[in-house]
Protein backbone atom coordinates (compact mmCIF):
# COMPACT_ATOMS: atom_id res chain seq x y z
CA UNK A 1 0.00 0.00 0.00
CA UNK A 2 1.42 3.33 -0.95
CA UNK A 3 0.88 6.67 -2.54
CA UNK A 4 2.35 7.31 -5.95
CA UNK A 5 3.53 10.79 -6.85
CA UNK A 6 4.60 11.92 -10.24
CA UNK A 7 6.52 15.16 -10.36
CA UNK A 8 7.14 17.30 -13.45
CA UNK A 9 7.36 14.18 -15.55
CA UNK A 10 8.48 14.44 -19.16
CA UNK A 11 9.17 11.77 -21.72
CA UNK A 12 10.31 12.30 -25.26
CA UNK A 13 11.54 9.91 -27.90
CA UNK A 14 14.30 11.52 -29.89
CA UNK A 15 13.98 15.04 -31.16
CA UNK A 16 10.60 16.73 -30.95
CA UNK A 17 8.55 13.64 -30.12
CA UNK A 18 7.28 14.62 -26.68
CA UNK A 19 4.85 12.00 -25.51
CA UNK A 20 4.44 13.22 -21.95
CA UNK A 21 4.80 16.96 -21.53
CA UNK A 22 5.23 17.69 -17.87
CA UNK A 23 2.78 15.87 -15.64
CA UNK A 24 2.20 16.31 -11.90
CA UNK A 25 -0.07 13.80 -10.25
CA UNK A 26 -0.54 12.47 -6.75
CA UNK A 27 -2.29 9.15 -6.33
CA UNK A 28 -3.49 8.48 -2.79
CA UNK A 29 -2.97 5.27 -0.87
CA UNK A 30 -5.70 2.79 -1.77
CA UNK A 31 -7.11 4.93 -4.53
CA UNK A 32 -8.37 3.57 -7.85
CA UNK A 33 -7.16 6.00 -10.49
CA UNK A 34 -7.83 5.64 -14.19
CA UNK A 35 -5.67 7.22 -16.86
CA UNK A 36 -7.86 7.73 -19.87
CA UNK A 37 -7.44 9.32 -23.26
CA UNK A 38 -7.27 8.58 -26.97
CA UNK A 39 -4.43 6.47 -28.34
CA UNK A 40 -1.14 8.31 -28.38
CA UNK A 41 -2.11 10.59 -25.48
CA UNK A 42 0.76 9.28 -23.33
CA UNK A 43 -1.25 7.23 -20.84
CA UNK A 44 0.59 3.97 -21.48
CA UNK A 45 3.94 5.74 -21.45
CA UNK A 46 3.03 7.23 -18.08
CA UNK A 47 2.14 3.80 -16.73
CA UNK A 48 5.38 2.32 -18.09
CA UNK A 49 7.35 5.08 -16.39
CA UNK A 50 5.62 4.31 -13.09
CA UNK A 51 6.43 0.62 -13.60
CA UNK A 52 10.03 1.43 -14.47
CA UNK A 53 9.84 -0.10 -17.93
CA UNK A 54 10.70 3.26 -19.44
CA UNK A 55 12.83 5.94 -17.88
CA UNK A 56 11.56 9.53 -17.92
CA UNK A 57 13.39 12.27 -19.79
CA UNK A 58 12.84 14.56 -16.81
CA UNK A 59 10.96 14.51 -13.53
CA UNK A 60 10.58 11.99 -10.73
CA UNK A 61 8.39 9.11 -9.60
CA UNK A 62 7.84 8.39 -5.91
CA UNK A 63 6.19 5.32 -4.50
CA UNK A 64 5.45 5.80 -0.82
CA UNK A 65 8.27 7.99 0.46
CA UNK A 66 10.86 6.52 -1.86
CA UNK A 67 12.13 8.12 -5.04
CA UNK A 68 12.10 5.17 -7.45
CA UNK A 69 12.93 7.12 -10.62
CA UNK A 70 16.21 5.26 -11.13
CA UNK A 71 15.14 1.88 -9.78
CA UNK A 72 14.63 -1.13 -12.01
CA UNK A 73 11.05 -2.44 -12.32
CA UNK A 74 11.71 -5.39 -10.04
CA UNK A 75 12.79 -3.14 -7.16
CA UNK A 76 9.66 -0.97 -7.13
CA UNK A 77 7.29 -3.48 -5.59
CA UNK A 78 4.55 -2.85 -8.13
CA UNK A 79 2.68 -5.47 -10.14
CA UNK A 80 1.41 -4.99 -13.65
CA UNK A 81 -1.31 -6.62 -15.72
CA UNK A 82 -0.79 -6.30 -19.45
CA UNK A 83 -3.22 -5.91 -22.29
CA UNK A 84 -2.15 -9.19 -23.87
CA UNK A 85 -1.90 -10.85 -20.40
CA UNK A 86 1.75 -11.71 -21.20
CA UNK A 87 1.60 -15.14 -19.62
CA UNK A 88 4.76 -17.20 -19.94
CA UNK A 89 3.69 -19.87 -22.42
CA UNK A 90 6.30 -22.43 -21.36
CA UNK A 91 5.19 -22.42 -17.71
CA UNK A 92 2.13 -23.91 -16.07
CA UNK A 93 -0.46 -21.66 -14.47
CA UNK A 94 1.05 -22.40 -11.05
CA UNK A 95 4.53 -21.48 -12.31
CA UNK A 96 3.21 -18.32 -13.93
CA UNK A 97 1.56 -17.14 -10.74
CA UNK A 98 4.55 -18.11 -8.61
CA UNK A 99 7.13 -16.54 -10.93
CA UNK A 100 7.41 -13.15 -9.13
CA UNK A 101 7.81 -14.91 -5.78
CA UNK A 102 10.42 -17.23 -7.23
CA UNK A 103 12.39 -14.21 -8.43
CA UNK A 104 12.12 -12.70 -4.96
CA UNK A 105 13.64 -15.93 -3.58
CA UNK A 106 10.63 -16.76 -1.47
CA UNK A 107 10.70 -20.26 0.02
CA UNK A 108 9.19 -23.01 -2.10
CA UNK A 109 6.59 -24.08 0.45
CA UNK A 110 5.47 -20.49 0.92
CA UNK A 111 5.19 -20.02 -2.84
CA UNK A 112 3.04 -23.14 -3.13
CA UNK A 113 0.64 -21.96 -0.42
CA UNK A 114 0.33 -18.45 -1.73
CA UNK A 115 -0.15 -19.61 -5.31
CA UNK A 116 -2.92 -21.93 -4.15
CA UNK A 117 -4.62 -19.22 -2.08
CA UNK A 118 -4.46 -16.74 -4.94
CA UNK A 119 -5.79 -19.26 -7.44
CA UNK A 120 -8.67 -20.21 -5.14
CA UNK A 121 -9.59 -16.60 -4.70
CA UNK A 122 -9.73 -16.10 -8.47
CA UNK A 123 -11.54 -19.43 -8.95
CA UNK A 124 -8.78 -20.93 -11.10
CA UNK A 125 -7.58 -23.46 -8.51
CA UNK A 126 -8.45 -26.35 -10.82
CA UNK A 127 -6.30 -24.97 -13.65
CA UNK A 128 -2.95 -24.83 -11.87
CA UNK A 129 -1.29 -27.58 -13.89
CA UNK A 130 -2.47 -26.31 -17.28
CA UNK A 131 -0.41 -24.34 -19.77
CA UNK A 132 -1.65 -20.90 -20.89
CA UNK A 133 -2.51 -22.15 -24.39
CA UNK A 134 -5.09 -24.52 -22.86
CA UNK A 135 -7.01 -21.65 -21.25
CA UNK A 136 -9.83 -19.42 -22.48
CA UNK A 137 -9.40 -15.65 -22.69
CA UNK A 138 -11.16 -15.05 -19.39
CA UNK A 139 -9.10 -17.69 -17.63
CA UNK A 140 -5.86 -16.19 -18.97
CA UNK A 141 -7.00 -12.83 -17.67
CA UNK A 142 -7.44 -14.35 -14.22
CA UNK A 143 -4.00 -15.94 -14.31
CA UNK A 144 -2.49 -12.57 -15.21
CA UNK A 145 -4.39 -11.06 -12.30
CA UNK A 146 -3.20 -13.86 -10.03
CA UNK A 147 0.41 -13.22 -10.96
CA UNK A 148 -0.05 -9.64 -9.79
CA UNK A 149 -2.06 -10.47 -6.66
CA UNK A 150 0.29 -13.12 -5.35
CA UNK A 151 3.01 -10.57 -4.65
CA UNK A 152 0.89 -8.34 -2.41
CA UNK A 153 2.62 -5.35 -3.99
CA UNK A 154 2.43 -1.70 -3.01
CA UNK A 155 0.48 -0.83 -6.11
CA UNK A 156 -1.20 -2.51 -9.06
CA UNK A 157 -0.78 -1.20 -12.59
CA UNK A 158 -3.19 -2.19 -15.34
CA UNK A 159 -2.55 -1.56 -19.02
CA UNK A 160 -5.91 -1.93 -20.78
CA UNK A 161 -6.40 -5.36 -19.24
CA UNK A 162 -9.94 -5.89 -20.50
CA UNK A 163 -9.64 -4.77 -24.08
CA UNK A 164 -9.01 -8.28 -25.44
CA UNK A 165 -12.13 -9.77 -23.87
CA UNK A 166 -15.52 -9.97 -25.53
CA UNK A 167 -18.19 -7.53 -24.39
CA UNK A 168 -20.03 -9.80 -21.93
CA UNK A 169 -16.85 -11.01 -20.23
CA UNK A 170 -15.48 -7.49 -20.12
CA UNK A 171 -18.46 -6.23 -18.12
CA UNK A 172 -18.14 -9.15 -15.74
CA UNK A 173 -14.38 -8.72 -15.22
CA UNK A 174 -14.90 -5.01 -14.78
CA UNK A 175 -17.22 -5.65 -11.86
CA UNK A 176 -14.80 -8.20 -10.41
CA UNK A 177 -11.90 -5.77 -10.64
CA UNK A 178 -13.88 -3.17 -8.77
CA UNK A 179 -14.81 -5.70 -6.09
CA UNK A 180 -11.19 -6.80 -5.86
CA UNK A 181 -10.10 -3.23 -5.29
CA UNK A 182 -12.66 -2.84 -2.51
CA UNK A 183 -11.44 -6.03 -0.83
CA UNK A 184 -7.72 -5.32 -1.14
CA UNK A 185 -7.83 -1.61 -0.50
CA UNK A 186 -4.65 -1.34 -2.58
CA UNK A 187 -3.56 1.45 -4.91
CA UNK A 188 -4.74 0.76 -8.46
CA UNK A 189 -3.57 2.67 -11.52
CA UNK A 190 -5.57 1.70 -14.55
CA UNK A 191 -5.02 2.72 -18.17
CA UNK A 192 -7.85 2.56 -20.67
CA UNK A 193 -9.13 4.31 -23.75
CA UNK A 194 -12.66 3.27 -22.87
CA UNK A 195 -14.50 6.11 -21.13
CA UNK A 196 -17.15 3.71 -19.81
CA UNK A 197 -14.49 1.67 -18.00
CA UNK A 198 -12.99 4.85 -16.58
CA UNK A 199 -16.39 6.03 -15.34
CA UNK A 200 -17.49 2.79 -13.72
CA UNK A 201 -14.24 1.72 -12.11
CA UNK A 202 -12.41 4.61 -10.63
CA UNK A 203 -12.38 6.89 -7.62
CA UNK A 204 -10.68 9.51 -9.75
CA UNK A 205 -10.21 9.84 -13.48
CA UNK A 206 -7.20 11.48 -15.10
CA UNK A 207 -8.02 12.63 -18.62
CA UNK A 208 -4.98 12.94 -20.86
CA UNK A 209 -4.63 14.36 -24.32
CA UNK A 210 -1.43 14.93 -26.31
CA UNK A 211 0.74 14.33 -23.24
CA UNK A 212 -1.02 16.88 -21.04
CA UNK A 213 -3.49 16.33 -18.20
CA UNK A 214 -6.82 17.85 -19.20
CA UNK A 215 -8.70 17.23 -15.98
CA UNK A 216 -8.47 15.19 -12.81
CA UNK A 217 -11.49 14.34 -10.69
CA UNK A 218 -14.19 11.86 -9.79
CA UNK A 219 -16.01 10.46 -12.81
CA UNK A 220 -19.23 12.28 -11.88
CA UNK A 221 -17.46 15.65 -11.85
CA UNK A 222 -15.69 14.96 -15.11
CA UNK A 223 -18.99 14.09 -16.70
CA UNK A 224 -21.09 16.92 -15.26
CA UNK A 225 -18.44 19.59 -15.07
CA UNK A 226 -15.84 19.02 -17.81
CA UNK A 227 -12.95 21.45 -17.93
CA UNK A 228 -12.95 21.84 -21.70
CA UNK A 229 -14.40 20.69 -25.00
CA UNK A 230 -12.02 17.74 -25.23
CA UNK A 231 -13.08 16.27 -21.88
CA UNK A 232 -16.75 16.95 -22.57
CA UNK A 233 -16.49 15.20 -25.93
CA UNK A 234 -14.46 12.26 -24.67
CA UNK A 235 -16.90 11.28 -21.93
CA UNK A 236 -20.43 10.20 -22.60
CA UNK A 237 -21.94 8.01 -25.27
CA UNK A 238 -23.46 9.18 -27.49
CA UNK A 239 -21.26 12.26 -27.56
CA UNK A 240 -22.27 15.58 -26.08
CA UNK A 241 -23.88 18.00 -28.56
CA UNK A 242 -21.57 20.93 -29.25
CA UNK A 243 -23.34 23.50 -31.38
CA UNK A 244 -23.54 27.24 -31.93
CA UNK A 245 -26.17 28.36 -29.37
CA UNK A 246 -28.44 29.88 -32.03
CA UNK A 247 -29.04 26.38 -33.41
CA UNK A 248 -30.97 25.50 -30.28
CA UNK A 249 -32.62 28.87 -30.08
CA UNK A 250 -30.37 30.17 -27.29
CA UNK A 251 -28.80 33.58 -26.85
CA UNK A 252 -25.06 33.46 -25.92
CA UNK A 253 -23.87 35.82 -23.18
CA UNK A 254 -21.11 36.94 -25.51
CA UNK A 255 -20.11 36.04 -29.08
CA UNK A 256 -17.68 33.17 -29.77
CA UNK A 257 -19.27 30.64 -27.43
CA UNK A 258 -20.26 27.01 -28.08
CA UNK A 259 -23.21 25.40 -26.35
CA UNK A 260 -22.67 21.91 -24.99
CA UNK A 261 -25.64 19.81 -23.94
CA UNK A 262 -25.71 16.05 -23.45
CA UNK A 263 -28.27 13.96 -25.37
CA UNK A 264 -30.10 12.97 -22.16
CA UNK A 265 -30.68 16.68 -21.51
CA UNK A 266 -32.30 17.27 -24.89
CA UNK A 267 -36.00 16.47 -25.08
CA UNK A 268 -37.55 15.51 -28.40
CA UNK A 269 -41.16 15.11 -29.58
CA UNK A 270 -43.27 14.69 -32.69
CA UNK A 271 -44.47 17.91 -34.22
CA UNK A 272 -48.14 17.00 -33.97
CA UNK A 273 -48.10 16.68 -30.16
CA UNK A 274 -47.81 20.42 -29.67
CA UNK A 275 -44.50 22.21 -29.53
CA UNK A 276 -43.52 23.26 -25.97
CA UNK A 277 -42.13 26.65 -25.16
CA UNK A 278 -38.41 27.16 -25.90
CA UNK A 279 -38.24 24.35 -28.44
CA UNK A 280 -36.89 24.51 -31.97
CA UNK A 281 -38.05 22.47 -34.92
CA UNK A 282 -35.93 20.21 -37.10
CA UNK A 283 -35.96 17.12 -39.27
CA UNK A 284 -35.24 13.58 -38.12
CA UNK A 285 -31.91 12.43 -39.55
CA UNK A 286 -31.69 9.02 -37.87
CA UNK A 287 -33.43 7.06 -35.12
CA UNK A 288 -31.33 4.66 -33.03
CA UNK A 289 -33.35 2.38 -30.74
CA UNK A 290 -31.08 1.14 -27.90
CA UNK A 291 -33.60 -0.99 -26.05
CA UNK A 292 -34.01 0.96 -22.84
CA UNK A 293 -34.06 4.27 -24.69
CA UNK A 294 -33.98 5.67 -28.19
CA UNK A 295 -31.60 8.26 -29.54
CA UNK A 296 -32.87 10.60 -32.20
CA UNK A 297 -30.47 12.55 -34.35
CA UNK A 298 -32.10 15.73 -35.61
CA UNK A 299 -30.93 18.09 -38.34
CA UNK A 300 -31.12 21.73 -37.22
CA UNK A 301 -29.96 23.96 -40.03
CA UNK A 302 -26.27 23.14 -40.62
CA UNK A 303 -25.88 21.24 -37.33
CA UNK A 304 -27.03 17.88 -36.02
CA UNK A 305 -28.18 17.32 -32.47
CA UNK A 306 -28.67 14.01 -30.67
CA UNK A 307 -31.63 13.82 -28.31
CA UNK A 308 -32.85 11.06 -26.02
CA UNK A 309 -36.42 9.82 -26.27
CA UNK A 310 -38.35 7.03 -24.59
CA UNK A 311 -37.86 3.47 -25.76
CA UNK A 312 -41.10 3.52 -27.70
CA UNK A 313 -40.34 6.65 -29.74
CA UNK A 314 -40.88 6.17 -33.46
CA UNK A 315 -40.38 8.61 -36.30
CA UNK A 316 -39.58 8.36 -39.98
CA UNK A 317 -36.43 9.92 -41.40
CA UNK A 318 -37.31 13.40 -42.58
CA UNK A 319 -40.25 13.80 -40.18
CA UNK A 320 -40.53 17.17 -38.46
CA UNK A 321 -39.84 17.08 -34.72
CA UNK A 322 -39.18 19.60 -31.96
CA UNK A 323 -36.16 19.52 -29.67
CA UNK A 324 -35.66 21.42 -26.42
CA UNK A 325 -32.41 21.59 -24.43
CA UNK A 326 -32.52 21.59 -20.63
CA UNK A 327 -30.64 24.85 -20.13
CA UNK A 328 -30.08 24.17 -16.41
CA UNK A 329 -27.73 21.34 -17.46
CA UNK A 330 -26.05 23.17 -20.32
CA UNK A 331 -22.32 23.87 -20.61
CA UNK A 332 -20.69 26.82 -22.32
CA UNK A 333 -17.31 26.63 -24.01
CA UNK A 334 -15.08 29.19 -25.61
CA UNK A 335 -15.07 28.44 -29.33
CA UNK A 336 -11.37 29.25 -29.82
CA UNK A 337 -9.62 27.86 -26.74
CA UNK A 338 -12.09 25.09 -26.00
CA UNK A 339 -12.05 26.03 -22.31
CA UNK A 340 -15.18 26.32 -20.20
CA UNK A 341 -16.64 29.79 -20.33
Amino acid sequence: MATISIEKLKKSYGRGADVVKGIDLKIEDGEFVTLVGPSGCGKSTLLNVIAGLESPTAGAVRIGDVDVTDRSPGDRDVAMVFQSYALYPHMTVAKNIGFPLENARVERSVIATRVRETAERLEIGHLLERKPRELSGGQRQRVALGRALVRRPKAFLFDEPLSNLDAALRTQMRAELKKLHEELGATFVYVTHDQAEAMTLSDRVVVLNAGVIQQVGPARTIYDDPANVFVAGFFGSPRINLVPPETLGQEPKRPGLLLGVRPENVAVGLDGDGTPEGAVRGEVYLVEPMGAETFVIVTLGAARVTARANAGFEAKTGATVWVRPDMTRSLWFDEKSGARA
Partner: protein, 274 residues
Protein backbone atom coordinates in the same frame (compact mmCIF):
# COMPACT_ATOMS: atom_id res chain seq x y z
CA UNK B 1 -13.17 -29.71 -48.14
CA UNK B 2 -13.61 -31.56 -51.40
CA UNK B 3 -11.54 -34.69 -51.77
CA UNK B 4 -8.79 -34.16 -54.37
CA UNK B 5 -9.41 -35.90 -57.67
CA UNK B 6 -7.52 -38.99 -58.77
CA UNK B 7 -5.45 -36.96 -61.23
CA UNK B 8 -4.43 -34.41 -58.63
CA UNK B 9 -3.41 -37.13 -56.21
CA UNK B 10 -1.39 -38.87 -58.91
CA UNK B 11 0.38 -35.61 -59.74
CA UNK B 12 1.17 -35.04 -56.06
CA UNK B 13 2.56 -38.55 -55.71
CA UNK B 14 4.66 -38.13 -58.87
CA UNK B 15 6.03 -34.80 -57.66
CA UNK B 16 6.89 -36.31 -54.28
CA UNK B 17 8.61 -39.24 -55.97
CA UNK B 18 10.71 -36.95 -58.18
CA UNK B 19 11.72 -34.84 -55.18
CA UNK B 20 12.57 -37.96 -53.18
CA UNK B 21 14.72 -39.39 -55.98
CA UNK B 22 16.43 -36.04 -56.44
CA UNK B 23 17.35 -35.65 -52.77
CA UNK B 24 17.71 -39.23 -51.59
CA UNK B 25 19.10 -40.67 -54.84
CA UNK B 26 22.72 -39.57 -54.48
CA UNK B 27 22.81 -40.69 -50.89
CA UNK B 28 21.31 -44.06 -51.78
CA UNK B 29 23.91 -44.46 -54.52
CA UNK B 30 26.65 -43.60 -52.02
CA UNK B 31 25.28 -46.14 -49.57
CA UNK B 32 25.13 -48.79 -52.29
CA UNK B 33 28.69 -48.08 -53.39
CA UNK B 34 29.94 -48.35 -49.83
CA UNK B 35 28.38 -51.80 -49.53
CA UNK B 36 29.60 -53.28 -52.84
CA UNK B 37 32.18 -56.03 -52.82
CA UNK B 38 35.58 -54.72 -53.90
CA UNK B 39 35.56 -55.97 -57.51
CA UNK B 40 32.21 -54.37 -58.46
CA UNK B 41 32.83 -50.76 -57.37
CA UNK B 42 32.62 -49.23 -60.85
CA UNK B 43 29.61 -51.26 -62.03
CA UNK B 44 26.17 -49.79 -62.43
CA UNK B 45 24.14 -52.94 -61.79
CA UNK B 46 22.91 -54.01 -58.38
CA UNK B 47 25.71 -55.58 -56.33
CA UNK B 48 25.90 -59.38 -56.31
CA UNK B 49 26.41 -59.37 -52.55
CA UNK B 50 26.65 -56.83 -49.72
CA UNK B 51 30.00 -56.39 -48.07
CA UNK B 52 31.14 -54.32 -45.14
CA UNK B 53 34.80 -54.54 -46.09
CA UNK B 54 34.88 -50.92 -47.30
CA UNK B 55 33.82 -49.77 -43.83
CA UNK B 56 36.58 -51.79 -42.18
CA UNK B 57 39.09 -50.54 -44.74
CA UNK B 58 38.15 -46.90 -44.17
CA UNK B 59 39.51 -47.19 -40.66
CA UNK B 60 42.42 -49.38 -41.65
CA UNK B 61 45.84 -47.73 -41.73
CA UNK B 62 44.58 -44.17 -41.15
CA UNK B 63 43.35 -42.31 -38.04
CA UNK B 64 39.77 -42.01 -39.28
CA UNK B 65 38.24 -42.54 -35.83
CA UNK B 66 40.39 -39.72 -34.53
CA UNK B 67 39.37 -37.58 -37.48
CA UNK B 68 35.70 -38.15 -36.69
CA UNK B 69 36.34 -37.12 -33.10
CA UNK B 70 38.16 -33.97 -34.30
CA UNK B 71 35.20 -33.01 -36.44
CA UNK B 72 32.77 -33.61 -33.58
CA UNK B 73 34.86 -31.47 -31.24
CA UNK B 74 35.31 -28.64 -33.75
CA UNK B 75 31.68 -28.56 -34.92
CA UNK B 76 30.32 -29.02 -31.39
CA UNK B 77 32.46 -26.27 -29.90
CA UNK B 78 31.68 -23.97 -32.83
CA UNK B 79 27.96 -24.53 -32.28
CA UNK B 80 28.15 -23.84 -28.55
CA UNK B 81 30.29 -20.70 -28.92
CA UNK B 82 28.16 -19.44 -31.75
CA UNK B 83 24.88 -19.91 -29.88
CA UNK B 84 26.25 -18.36 -26.69
CA UNK B 85 27.47 -15.20 -28.41
CA UNK B 86 24.72 -14.89 -31.01
CA UNK B 87 21.83 -15.44 -28.60
CA UNK B 88 22.95 -12.71 -26.23
CA UNK B 89 23.57 -10.33 -29.13
CA UNK B 90 20.31 -11.23 -30.87
CA UNK B 91 18.32 -10.70 -27.69
CA UNK B 92 19.83 -7.25 -27.24
CA UNK B 93 19.19 -6.37 -30.88
CA UNK B 94 15.61 -7.59 -30.77
CA UNK B 95 14.41 -6.39 -27.38
CA UNK B 96 16.60 -3.74 -25.81
CA UNK B 97 16.73 -0.04 -26.57
CA UNK B 98 19.90 0.35 -28.58
CA UNK B 99 21.18 2.89 -31.01
CA UNK B 100 22.23 1.69 -34.44
CA UNK B 101 20.56 -1.72 -34.36
CA UNK B 102 20.07 -1.77 -38.10
CA UNK B 103 23.63 -0.67 -38.77
CA UNK B 104 24.93 -3.45 -36.56
CA UNK B 105 22.86 -6.11 -38.28
CA UNK B 106 23.83 -4.82 -41.70
CA UNK B 107 27.49 -4.82 -40.69
CA UNK B 108 27.18 -8.42 -39.58
CA UNK B 109 25.66 -9.32 -42.91
CA UNK B 110 28.36 -7.41 -44.80
CA UNK B 111 31.10 -9.26 -42.94
CA UNK B 112 29.63 -12.60 -43.94
CA UNK B 113 29.88 -11.58 -47.61
CA UNK B 114 33.68 -11.90 -47.62
CA UNK B 115 34.71 -14.91 -49.67
CA UNK B 116 36.56 -17.30 -47.34
CA UNK B 117 39.43 -17.67 -49.81
CA UNK B 118 40.24 -13.96 -49.39
CA UNK B 119 40.67 -14.42 -45.67
CA UNK B 120 42.72 -17.61 -45.73
CA UNK B 121 46.18 -16.01 -45.91
CA UNK B 122 45.70 -13.33 -43.25
CA UNK B 123 43.96 -15.82 -40.97
CA UNK B 124 46.79 -18.29 -41.50
CA UNK B 125 49.36 -15.70 -40.49
CA UNK B 126 47.30 -14.60 -37.51
CA UNK B 127 46.80 -18.17 -36.26
CA UNK B 128 50.48 -18.86 -36.77
CA UNK B 129 51.33 -15.85 -34.66
CA UNK B 130 49.23 -17.09 -31.74
CA UNK B 131 50.35 -20.70 -32.20
CA UNK B 132 46.91 -22.06 -32.96
CA UNK B 133 47.73 -23.66 -36.31
CA UNK B 134 47.06 -27.38 -36.41
CA UNK B 135 44.89 -27.25 -33.26
CA UNK B 136 41.10 -27.70 -32.87
CA UNK B 137 40.81 -24.20 -31.41
CA UNK B 138 42.50 -22.84 -34.52
CA UNK B 139 39.49 -24.09 -36.48
CA UNK B 140 36.80 -23.35 -33.90
CA UNK B 141 37.60 -19.62 -33.84
CA UNK B 142 37.37 -18.98 -37.59
CA UNK B 143 34.35 -21.27 -37.89
CA UNK B 144 32.58 -19.39 -35.10
CA UNK B 145 33.28 -15.99 -36.60
CA UNK B 146 32.09 -17.12 -40.01
CA UNK B 147 28.89 -18.72 -38.73
CA UNK B 148 28.07 -15.85 -36.35
CA UNK B 149 26.34 -13.48 -38.78
CA UNK B 150 23.95 -16.19 -39.93
CA UNK B 151 23.26 -17.27 -36.35
CA UNK B 152 22.73 -13.66 -35.34
CA UNK B 153 20.21 -13.05 -38.11
CA UNK B 154 18.26 -16.23 -37.52
CA UNK B 155 18.11 -15.73 -33.76
CA UNK B 156 17.24 -12.03 -33.99
CA UNK B 157 14.29 -13.04 -36.12
CA UNK B 158 13.15 -15.56 -33.53
CA UNK B 159 13.56 -13.16 -30.61
CA UNK B 160 11.62 -10.47 -32.46
CA UNK B 161 8.66 -12.79 -32.74
CA UNK B 162 8.45 -13.16 -28.98
CA UNK B 163 6.03 -10.45 -27.80
CA UNK B 164 7.63 -7.46 -26.07
CA UNK B 165 5.10 -7.67 -23.28
CA UNK B 166 6.57 -10.99 -22.14
CA UNK B 167 9.93 -9.33 -21.60
CA UNK B 168 8.28 -6.41 -19.83
CA UNK B 169 6.22 -8.74 -17.66
CA UNK B 170 9.38 -10.59 -16.64
CA UNK B 171 11.05 -7.31 -15.75
CA UNK B 172 8.11 -6.21 -13.58
CA UNK B 173 8.05 -9.68 -12.02
CA UNK B 174 11.50 -9.02 -10.67
CA UNK B 175 13.88 -10.29 -13.34
CA UNK B 176 17.05 -8.45 -14.27
CA UNK B 177 17.47 -8.15 -18.05
CA UNK B 178 19.72 -11.19 -18.02
CA UNK B 179 17.28 -13.23 -15.89
CA UNK B 180 14.46 -12.28 -18.23
CA UNK B 181 16.66 -13.50 -21.08
CA UNK B 182 17.49 -16.78 -19.33
CA UNK B 183 14.14 -17.64 -17.77
CA UNK B 184 11.70 -16.37 -20.38
CA UNK B 185 13.32 -15.51 -23.69
CA UNK B 186 15.66 -18.49 -24.10
CA UNK B 187 13.03 -21.16 -23.40
CA UNK B 188 10.69 -19.48 -25.85
CA UNK B 189 13.39 -19.13 -28.50
CA UNK B 190 14.21 -22.87 -28.35
CA UNK B 191 13.00 -23.56 -31.88
CA UNK B 192 15.33 -20.78 -33.01
CA UNK B 193 18.21 -22.27 -31.07
CA UNK B 194 17.56 -25.68 -32.62
CA UNK B 195 17.42 -24.26 -36.14
CA UNK B 196 20.56 -22.22 -35.62
CA UNK B 197 22.40 -25.09 -33.99
CA UNK B 198 21.69 -27.34 -36.96
CA UNK B 199 22.80 -24.74 -39.47
CA UNK B 200 26.00 -23.88 -37.63
CA UNK B 201 26.88 -27.51 -36.91
CA UNK B 202 26.44 -28.50 -40.54
CA UNK B 203 28.45 -25.51 -41.72
CA UNK B 204 31.35 -26.34 -39.43
CA UNK B 205 31.16 -30.09 -40.07
CA UNK B 206 31.34 -29.62 -43.83
CA UNK B 207 33.81 -26.73 -43.91
CA UNK B 208 36.77 -27.64 -46.08
CA UNK B 209 38.98 -24.69 -46.99
CA UNK B 210 40.08 -23.60 -43.50
CA UNK B 211 40.27 -27.17 -42.27
CA UNK B 212 42.59 -28.02 -45.13
CA UNK B 213 44.78 -24.95 -44.78
CA UNK B 214 45.10 -24.65 -41.01
CA UNK B 215 45.79 -28.30 -40.16
CA UNK B 216 48.83 -30.20 -41.31
CA UNK B 217 49.14 -33.40 -39.29
CA UNK B 218 46.84 -36.32 -40.30
CA UNK B 219 45.65 -36.81 -36.72
CA UNK B 220 44.33 -33.23 -36.50
CA UNK B 221 42.33 -33.25 -39.73
CA UNK B 222 38.56 -33.05 -39.94
CA UNK B 223 36.33 -35.41 -41.91
CA UNK B 224 35.99 -33.57 -45.26
CA UNK B 225 39.73 -33.01 -45.47
CA UNK B 226 40.58 -36.55 -44.46
CA UNK B 227 38.20 -38.05 -47.02
CA UNK B 228 39.57 -35.84 -49.78
CA UNK B 229 43.03 -37.20 -48.98
CA UNK B 230 41.94 -40.86 -49.12
CA UNK B 231 43.00 -41.05 -52.73
CA UNK B 232 46.56 -42.19 -53.15
CA UNK B 233 48.90 -41.41 -56.02
CA UNK B 234 47.76 -44.38 -58.06
CA UNK B 235 44.50 -45.47 -56.38
CA UNK B 236 41.00 -44.11 -56.05
CA UNK B 237 39.52 -46.15 -53.17
CA UNK B 238 35.90 -45.38 -54.07
CA UNK B 239 34.48 -47.96 -51.69
CA UNK B 240 36.33 -46.53 -48.72
CA UNK B 241 35.50 -42.95 -49.68
CA UNK B 242 31.83 -43.90 -49.93
CA UNK B 243 31.91 -45.72 -46.60
CA UNK B 244 33.65 -42.80 -44.89
CA UNK B 245 31.15 -40.37 -46.40
CA UNK B 246 28.22 -42.42 -45.10
CA UNK B 247 29.80 -42.44 -41.64
CA UNK B 248 30.40 -38.68 -41.87
CA UNK B 249 26.75 -38.09 -42.70
CA UNK B 250 25.40 -40.02 -39.75
CA UNK B 251 26.19 -37.42 -37.06
CA UNK B 252 24.39 -34.81 -39.12
CA UNK B 253 21.32 -37.00 -39.43
CA UNK B 254 21.33 -37.81 -35.71
CA UNK B 255 21.95 -34.19 -34.75
CA UNK B 256 19.14 -32.97 -36.99
CA UNK B 257 16.65 -35.54 -35.73
CA UNK B 258 17.60 -34.74 -32.15
CA UNK B 259 16.97 -31.02 -32.55
CA UNK B 260 14.03 -31.38 -34.89
CA UNK B 261 11.88 -32.46 -31.96
CA UNK B 262 12.55 -29.05 -30.48
CA UNK B 263 11.41 -27.24 -33.60
CA UNK B 264 7.74 -27.38 -32.80
CA UNK B 265 5.55 -24.73 -34.27
CA UNK B 266 3.25 -22.86 -31.94
CA UNK B 267 5.42 -23.02 -28.87
CA UNK B 268 4.53 -19.45 -28.03
CA UNK B 269 0.85 -20.12 -28.56
CA UNK B 270 -1.19 -18.95 -25.59
CA UNK B 271 1.29 -16.33 -24.52
CA UNK B 272 -0.76 -13.37 -25.53
CA UNK B 273 -4.30 -12.53 -26.58
CA UNK B 274 -7.19 -14.89 -26.84
Amino acid sequence: MKAPSMGARLATALGAAIAAVFFVGPFAWLLLTSLRPEGEITEVSLPSALSSSSYANAFHGRPFARVLLNSLVVAGATTIFCLAVASAAAFALAKLELRGKRALLSAALAVSMFPPIATVSPLYLALKEVHLLDTPLGLVIPHTTFALPLALWVLTGFFREIPDELYRAARVDGCSPFQAFRKVMVPLAMPGFATTAILVFIFSWNEFLYALTFTSSPSHRTVPVAISLFAGEHTEPWGEIAAASVIATLPLVIFTLMFQRRIVAGLTQGAVKG
